[in-house]
């Protein structure tokens, strides 16, 4: 995304308060102004970011290694990687994998179906809908799904009417797979948004070249299409992974916090819902989540660099 923005101000404009406005001042003063004015102008932003982003992040890392009395300890980390909290981590990673790979594939198929379709209206409609739906997780989404698939939901009742009872097969919303099912609602549109530029980057001439050399449609996809798209698809899936791994509101509202996922456990611990005096264990889990997300983002950076090799 950052690469798309064109630089309107040229490189030569970086000298603030140019010389013309300061006639015959001492060089020291001028230099002070040259450094001082930009520093002053950027101060509010950087101070705000340090206070609102830096300090909380440092606090999480710091408190992860402290006892409740403030002494250094590794006990929190040990507790966070064993027992029920280990299960929470495993569940979170498993759910993030499921809700990045499946919606990732479905998103590519959907995006391809729309892009190769002839209907411009459809394309426009799906583009707008994807933009809106990808932004839409959380509480409202949850209750929409409860209205549809909850125990008294409209669709559940329809299924009852034709003799199917999903609940008797364990297909219920406040479960691991139920939450995954709901996540797809914003993950698929997100994938459509992320992958469409890459699909558009597939040049018609590549396909024609392959056909001229006698390649079948299958061989074109096998040797050209998929290899070119693969980094973009992986990149999109990594974004989906991060988005699902960090999600809290949807799972919490849907399950009331009974499902063992790392973000929900943090919420319980920090609220003191479990055992008081264990707040710092919550920070240890948070630190673990930060590590996972950092790895995800590094991989994303690598994959993105690879993706830009062929596309644009």
């Amino acid at each position: 995304m950052p690469e798309q923005v064109t630089d309107v101000t040229g490189p030569g404009t970086s000298v603030p308060g140019s010389v013309t406005t300061a006639p015959r001042r001492s060089p020291v003063l001028r230099r002070l102004k040259r450094v001082g004015v930009p520093t002053l102008a950027m101060t509010p932003f950087f101070v705000y970011v340090i206070l609102g982003l830096g300090i909380p992040a440092i606090a999480v890392v710091n408190l992860a290694f402290r006892t409740s009395t403030g002494k250094f300890t590794l006990a929190n980390m040990r507790a966070a990687t064993t027992g029920v909290y280990r299960v929470g981590f495993e569940n979170s990673i498993k759910m993030a994998l499921i809700t990045s790979i499946i919606p990732g594939v479905l998103g590519v198929i959907l995006a391809y179906a729309i892009q190769t379709g002839r209907s411009g209206v459809m394309r426009r409609l799906v583009a707008t809908a994807s933009g809106v739906l990808a932004n839409f997780g959380g509480v409202n989404l949850t209750f929409m799904f409860i209205a549809a698939y909850g125990s008294q939901g409209i669709i559940t009742l329809w299924l009852h009417a034709i003799g199917i009872n999903p609940y008797s097969h364990g297909l219920r919303l406040p479960t691991f797979y139920g939450v995954s099912f709901v996540y797809m609602y914003f993950q698929i549109p997100l994938m459509v948004l992320v992958i469409t530029p890459a699909l558009l980057g597939l040049r018609q001439s590549w396909r024609e070249a392959a056909q001229n050399m006698g390649a079948s449609s299958w061989r074109y996809w096998r040797h050209v299409g998929v290899p070119v798209l693969l980094p973009s698809i992986l990149g999109g899936m990594l974004l989906l992974f991060g988005s699902s791994f960090a999600a809290y509101a949807t799972a919490e509202a849907l399950t009331g916090g009974i499902i063992a996922l790392a973000p929900i456990q943090i919420g319980d611990l920090v609220n003191g819902n479990v055992i008081s005096g264990q707040q710092n264990l919550g920070y240890a889990i948070g630190f673990g989540m930060l590590l996972v997300l950092a790895v995800t983002m590094i991989l994303y950076g690598l994959v993105r660099r690879r993706a830009s090799k062929w596309l644009r």
Binding site: Q4, V5, V8, T9, P11, T13, S14, P38, A41, F45, V49, L53, I55, P56, A57, A59, V60, I109, L110, A113, T116, A127, T128, G131, V132, N135, F136, G138, V139, N140, L141, T142, F143, M144, A147, A148, Y149, G153, M184, Y185, L190, L193, V194, T196, P197, L200, Q204, L239, F245, A246, Y248, E252, I266, G267, V270, Q279, Y283, G286, M289, L293
Partner: protein, 286 residues
């Protein structure tokens, strides 16, 4: 999670709708048509079913008959008024703070510090990478009590959460105008920096400002994680707390929130489009 989506919106929409989209028109086999139809039908069913069910459920009474009782009952439910008022106050403060902080910063970076742009860009992506749940626990673990006991702490944090949207909107808006020329023209006509800002830059930036504000508003009105952990009952928190009382009222409340945010977001998406069309025309004319 929502955050990345909005970034994608700005990036992808033009391309999805762009003229090259029709370039792939070629021979088409009927086999492909069926395949596409099946995909579209399944997707349509998956995405429309909950919307339909939500609407139907919100407009039903306990005997499953059509009724507006849930929507009518909503404003008088205990706690709803207070939650609504709190959400409105928080969104107002957040939008104002966010604009005061980000507009001058972004303009200054564009005008005078293009080298810092990469850094600012990177920083404003961070709130997407660090989940709100971790941020709020960090805040609760490190800030003094007097600050934590004020609801406006949430506004302060929402400014951070909104940063990716706000910065990207403003950045796109500023890139679309020839900022340097405009400022130089205004300055050489004797306009002060303040007058330049008020009478030249901001009017040109209006669509970007509007979309930044609307995105922030939608974010604040829908935010659950931070508010619930900070123990303030905003609308989303109220909806979750109230769900045991009456399912129809809860669904009605979330459908209203949903329709509201859809209208807002669709507005931005179309605004985005008209803005990029305008900038396209402008560059074509130059």
């Amino acid at each position: 999670m929502a955050a990345i989506g909005a970034m994608g919106t700005e990036m992808a929409l033009d391309q999805i709708l762009g003229p090259e989209a029709s370039a792939s028109r070629g021979r088409r086999r009927p086999r492909f048509r069926t395949w596409r139809l099946v995909v579209m039908l399944i997707a349509g069913a998956y995405f429309l079913a909950p919307i339909y069910a939500g609407l139907k459920f919100a407009l039903q009474n306990d005997a499953n008959h059509f009724s507006f009782f849930a929507v009518k009952a909503l404003p008088t439910e205990p706690g709803f008024g207070a939650a609504f008022w709190l959400s409105i106050r928080l969104s107002f403060v957040t939008v104002v703070l966010s604009m005061i902080l980000m507009v001058p910063t972004t303009i200054y970076v564009h005008l005078r510090l293009p080298k810092v742009r990469r850094v600012v860009e990177f920083i404003t992506i961070l709130p997407i990478v660090i989940p709100p749940i971790i941020l709020i626990t960090g805040v609760l673990g490190s800030y003094p009590l007097w600050l934590k006991s004020s609801p406006y702490l949430l506004s302060l944090m929402y400014v951070i959460l909104a940063m990716p949207f706000v910065y990207r909107s403003l950045d796109a808006g500023l890139s679309a105008i020839d900022l340097k020329t405009l400022v130089e023209a205004s300055r050489s006509l004797g306009g002060s920096m303040f007058a330049t800002m008020r009478r030249v830059i901001l009017p040109n930036l209006r669509p970007a400002l509007l979309s930044a504000m609307v995105l922030t508003l939608a974010l604040v009105l829908g935010e659950f994680t931070m508010a619930s952990l900070d123990l303030w009952e905003t609308i989303p928190v109220w909806i979750v707390n109230f769900q045991q009382q009456d399912g129809h009222v809860t669904v009605a409340a979330s459908m209203l929130g949903l329709i509201g945010s859809w209208v807002l977001l669709t507005l931005i998406v179309s605004l985005d489009r008209s803005q990029s069309r305008r900038s396209l025309r402008k560059t074509g004319g130059l």
